[in-house]
């Protein structure tokens, strides 16, 4: 069994875990992160993409609202290129209650959330598809955030600071020693899900940042962390309906947010309490509800083309320990000002504020911290509070630096919708397009496949948006598989130097700054290059999962899961064409891969009612 040694071991490769690794590495800790699948495979990659201004929670969850607006300001500096400065409208429709808007505006002022009421006519002029019956509109600094890119950029910042990130390494055991009241976590055993090898990790401290899976991780330490898992269903439209984030100006409910993210608008969400973080069925009533509520914001949304449905799970947490213990547990945490509440019946009512569980005080387990709750918007703050608590346990004092440190790529400025198209046009890359819908060029795909952890095509989707457009993989899947096959069989010289993640979504990155990208990363150590290279199973001839047929089948299955729940109208027509391509022409359902499985094959077909994934 291979062994590794580290100071801080982070469990979970979502926004929070990656943020923790970045924060810890910046503070000089030797840091290792393990994630059982790809980075952002969980909730981070399944959210609607809203960078909250906090306004949504001003009347319901003041603590969360305060955290959101503060982090909103910080992330605009540290992750500029991952954010599109869309601004946000809170609109009052005839169905919304009368006194809420004034209370809302007052609460925004109280909490220092910048809020300007604008005439409804101006709002309609900017967003002509908005419901013309809206009576009042407030503009707030909401924005759209690319959680895939942000996490990858954070991951690269973490690597540059010396952290090692191991995706496709699943936690199997936490090493627990000592008796009651004096138990200590000293490391973990993880399984490399690609090679099947086990890895023994010694760590001074383990930070559980597994999001919706936090309860399961805590259970391995013999600690009970009762998560409130709130499933949220989202739908993506074929193209943007608005360029501004639209919120209903009312108490947060279902289907009252419309976020323009990249080329689509996402309407969300439901909030259904579920038992576990996987196997999330999407019910017909949830789709119907999103469409009905969507029509309140943009009349006709329900009749426009819906690309896909998917569900994510909010890792909500509300402390339910007896007051004596929980007071103790709040020590040094950001949730000091949170009153202890009854366990809410509905996950909609659970706080969105972050929850830091210091298990030494809370459960008498040393070397183990859980950071959960919160929003994507507050992931940096969550990381900060977790590493603050780690410093305290490790008996060192090192200030957090993330709020003042930009991740690679911020020099590109805010994301804008035309970014890819303008680069493709400027560099005349039209003939290089592999995924035509999302303008993914061959070089983007090759860079991602060779240099970023890649086990399935779905990993490349999260890297470069492969297959996320209208045809949902219809035309790019076979092309991408062919390219990976070519990479695998070609005698190409090994790729050296870390790929500049900051430009992974940039079609022209090869033409513009390949040299600077290499140079800026030469400082990052060889270990990190090893980390990312060894995981590129899709182009590694030795890896079982590199079989082209398997890559193809897995990705088609993954795309199908999100399309099946919304299969009507224009998207049905699309799927019929895709069916003709893959089943009638390529015979894809009879490819000789029956005895081969990727680590995700079963996930993609885990249930018949599809749980989908982001867009």
């Amino acid at each position: 069994m291979k062994r590794m040694q580290t100071e801080i071991l982070v469990i979970g490769g979502g926004a929070t875990g990656t943020g923790v690794a970045w924060d810890a590495a910046l503070r000089g800790f030797r840091t290792l992160l393990v994630e059982k699948r790809d980075l952002t495979h969980g909730t981070t990659g399944r959210y609607h993409g809203l960078l909250h201004s906090g306004a949504r929670y001003v009347l319901k969850d003041a603590a969360s609202a305060a955290q959101c607006i503060s982090e909103n300001r910080i992330l605009r500096r540290t992750h500029t290129h991952c954010i599109e400065d869309t601004s946000g409208f809170f609109v009052v429709t005839p169905e919304d209650e009368d006194d809420y808007p004034d209370r809302f505006a007052a609460a925004c002022r109280r909490l220092d959330v910048p809020c300007t009421e604008i005439p409804a006519s101006s709002a309609l002029r900017r967003e002509p598809l908005l419901n013309p019956r809206i009576s009042r509109v407030f503009e707030l600094p909401d924005a759209a955030a690319d959680s895939f890119l942000a996490t990858h950029a954070t991951a690269q910042a973490a690597r540059q600071a010396g952290a090692t990130l191991l995706p496709y390494h699943e936690l199997t055991r936490l090493h627990l020693s000592g008796g009651d009241g004096n138990r200590t976590i000293s490391g973990a055993t993880v399984l490399d899900t690609v090679s099947g090898e086990e890895l023994h990790i010694d760590a001074d401290l383990v930070i559980n940042a597994a999001g919706a899976w936090s309860g399961q991780v805590a259970a391995l330490a013999g600690v009970e962390v009762k998560m409130i898992l709130g499933k949220g269903v989202m739908l993506a439209t074929n193209a943007r309906l608005t360029n501004t984030v639209i919120n209903r100006c009312k108490m947060p409910g279902d289907g009252d947010i419309l976020v323009p993210i990249h080329t689509v608008s996402v309407i969300g969400t439901t909030d259904e309490k579920v038992a576990g973080p996987e196997d999330l069925p999407i019910e017909q009533w949830e789709i119907d509800l999103m469409l009905t509520e969507g029509d309140e914001l943009v009349p006709g949304l329900s009749r426009s083309r819906i690309l896909r449905a998917w569900a994510g799970v909010r890792p909500l947490y509300q402390e339910t320990q007896p007051p004596a213990e929980s007071n103790q547990s709040k020590e040094g945490s950001h949730s000091n000002d949170q009153p202890v509440q009854e366990m809410p019946q509905d996950s909609r009512d659970a706080t969105r504020a972050l929850a830091l569980l210091n298990h030494r005080q809370r459960d008498g387990v040393r070397g183990f911290i859980t950071i959960t709750g919160g929003k994507w918007t507050t992931f940096r703050l969550m990381a900060e509070s977790a590493v603050d608590a780690a410093c305290e346990q490790l008996g060192v004092s090192r200030p957090c630096r993330t709020a003042a440190t930009a991740v690679p790529g911020v020099d590109q400025g805010h994301y804008w919708l035309g970014h890819r198209l303008s680069e493709v046009e400027d560099e005349q890359l039209q003939s290089e397009l592999v995924c035509e819908c999302e303008l993914v060029t061959r070089s983007m795909l090759e860079s991602a496949a060779q240099r970023n952890p890649t086990v399935t095509l779905d990993d490349l989707r999260r890297d470069v948006r492969l297959g996320m457009g209208p045809c949902q993989g219809g035309f790019c899947t076979y092309r991408a598989v062919g390219i990976l096959h070519q990479l695998r069989t070609a005698k190409t010289s090994p790729v050296v130097g870390e790929w500049n993640v900051a430009h992974m979504q940039s079609p022209a990155h090869h033409h513009r700054d390949s040299s600077t990208a290499e140079a800026s990363d030469s400082a990052s150590n060889s270990a990190s290059a090893y980390d990312s290279l060894q995981r590129s199973a899709a182009v590694d001839p030795q890896a079982a999962v590199s079989q082209p047929n398997l890559l193809l089948r897995d990705f088609l299955q993954e795309r199908w899961k999100g399309v099946a729940p919304i299969l009507w109208g224009q998207q049905l027509r699309q799927e019929r064409l895709d069916e003709l391509i893959y089943l009638s022409i390529l015979n894809a359902d009879h490819l000789p891969v029956d005895d081969k499985e990727s680590p995700l094959s079963s996930f993609y077909r885990s249930d018949f009612s599809p749980s989908g994934s982001n867009q």
Partner: protein, 452 residues
């Protein structure tokens, strides 16, 4: 602006299933890399533009929120010729050419309009100015130095087939021949378009003679440019004011139930479809009424034919005893009417006429497209398919139909000029052939048979 809905033109991109049929038919992307194809330019790129905002402008300027730094992300859409072959072949109904036209309007809004494109959009104004002294105007524009200057100063392709001003406008002919014009209870309105007014009044004469031969009085009320050249060049605001003026001028005839009949397929298409759709005027009552009242002349004549109202005194066209072989090209703009090819139905009534239908996709000129220096060669390459077809009719004759080709026929003016330029053969509007077959018109000299 009223009635912006999720199902308006721009959102027709939602119907795209990426099948590539449009790309494989596109005559422009087949001959140049400058245009990546209809699918790329319209449904694909539109998702990356300032999507969801139907085009319109008000006192405060165009509606679309300025893109980052006022940028329009793409430029290659300017190489779409607007021929609408893509619309014709799209199996799911994406308004590809319209999406592209709107994108060009946004480019104009973001980057401004070149003097050349402004001029090309003003063919009515050019026509009017030239008509003051047609001889001088023709001399200035049709000598090598003038053309070289126009190319250097404005970017108007030196070799492109510019029309010549006629010594008499259609209106002056109408005034001169007022006494001979038929008065009748059965009335139609003739929409001549700018080219007929200033360059080819004989097409209008042929049309009026045929209408009168059928017993209809042709009313030719004051009218102006339909706005298409401006729409093609992205100048939507000017196009809208032209369109609204036509709506106002024609309203009384539309209300009286008179059909509005045109010989220029692009003008009639603009009244029927392009202006209402591109300018978001579908719900404007005047626009809608005019749209429903407008006919292509052969579309209207075919109705008469179907109802046995067509005079049967059609005579063979004389060609010194030889069979008259006529290659006919249905212009893209006519195909966009989705009315079939009514000119063929009518010309087939002419005894002894050997009609040969071209299946070429486009002649290349596409309105003002082929007049632009950077697009001239593209237009010629697109047209090669058609030119070759015409040449093949001339050279290789089938054994049973020996004959020579003296004319080609096409419904659209710029296409005829391009055809003449590409084949060296004179080209005629089908209405000229019909008028000649009725003995009303001299096909060679292009004037009424009675010499008026």
């Amino acid at each position: 602006m009223q009635n912006a809905t999720v199902n308006s033109v721009g959102l027709s991109l939602n119907a795209c299933i990426k099948c590539n049929i449009c790309t494989s038919y596109c005559p422009v992307s087949a001959v140049t890399d400058s245009f990546p194809g209809p699918k790329y330019a319209a449904p694909q790129s539109e998702r990356f533009r300032d999507f969801g905002h139907p085009y319109y402008a008000d006192a405060a300027g165009p509606i679309s929120r300025p893109l980052a730094g006022g940028q329009m992300p793409d430029a290659s859409v300017d190489y779409c010729s607007g021929c609408r072959v893509c619309n014709e072949v799209c199996p799911t109904g994406v308004r590809i050419a319209e999406i592209n036209a709107r994108a060009r309007a946004r480019i104009v809004a973001a980057r401004g309009l070149s003097l050349r494109n402004r001029l090309l959009g003003r063919n009515e104004l050019l026509g009017r100015i030239g008509s003051i002294a047609p001889g001088l105007a023709n001399f200035v524009l049709h000598n090598p130095i003038g053309r070289r200057l126009a190319a250097a100063l404005f970017g108007v392709a030196e070799k492109a087939p510019l029309p010549r001003w006629h010594h008499e406008t259609l209106n002056r002919w109408l005034a001169r021949t007022r006494a001979q014009r038929l008065r009748s209870d059965r009335k139609v309105v003739y929409f001549h378009g700018c080219a007929t007014q200033y360059y080819e009044p004989y097409v209008g004469m042929a049309a009026i003679l045929v209408l009168e031969h059928l017993g209809y009085e042709a009313i030719v009320p004051p009218q102006n440019c339909c706005g298409l050249p401006m729409l093609s060049n992205g100048e939507f605001t000017a196009a809208e004011s032209h369109h609204r003026r036509n709506v106002a001028r024609l309203a009384q005839y539309v209300d009286a139930g008179h059909p509005i009949i045109g010989t220029s397929t692009s003008c009639t298409l603009t009244l029927k479809e392009e202006a209402p759709e591109l300018l978001d005027l579908e719900s404007d009552p005047g626009t809608h009424a005019l749209k429903l009242a407008t006919w292509d002349i052969f579309e209207w004549l075919r109705e008469r034919l179907d109802q046995d109202q067509l005079p049967s005194d059609l005579r063979p066209l004389d060609q010194s005893g030889q069979p008259f072989i006529l290659p006919y090209h249905a212009p893209c703009q006519l195909r966009a009417h989705r009315i079939g090819k009514p000119a063929l139905d009518l010309l087939a009534q002419i005894p002894g006429l050997d009609l040969r239908e071209s299946h070429a996709r486009c002649c290349g000129i596409a309105g003002t497209y082929g007049y632009k220096t950077e697009k001239y060669q593209i237009a010629m390459d697109v047209g090669a398919e058609l030119f070759d077809y015409v040449a093949s009719q001339t050279s290789k004759s089938e054994p049973d139909s020996e004959g020579s080709v003296s004319f080609t026929a096409c419904d659209s003016e710029t296409c005829r000029w391009q055809l003449e330029h590409g084949t060296g053969l004179p080209s005629r509007h089908p209405i000229e052939l019909l008028a000649a077959a009725y003995g009303l018109y001299d096909l060679q000299a292009r004037r009424p048979a009675d010499g008026s």
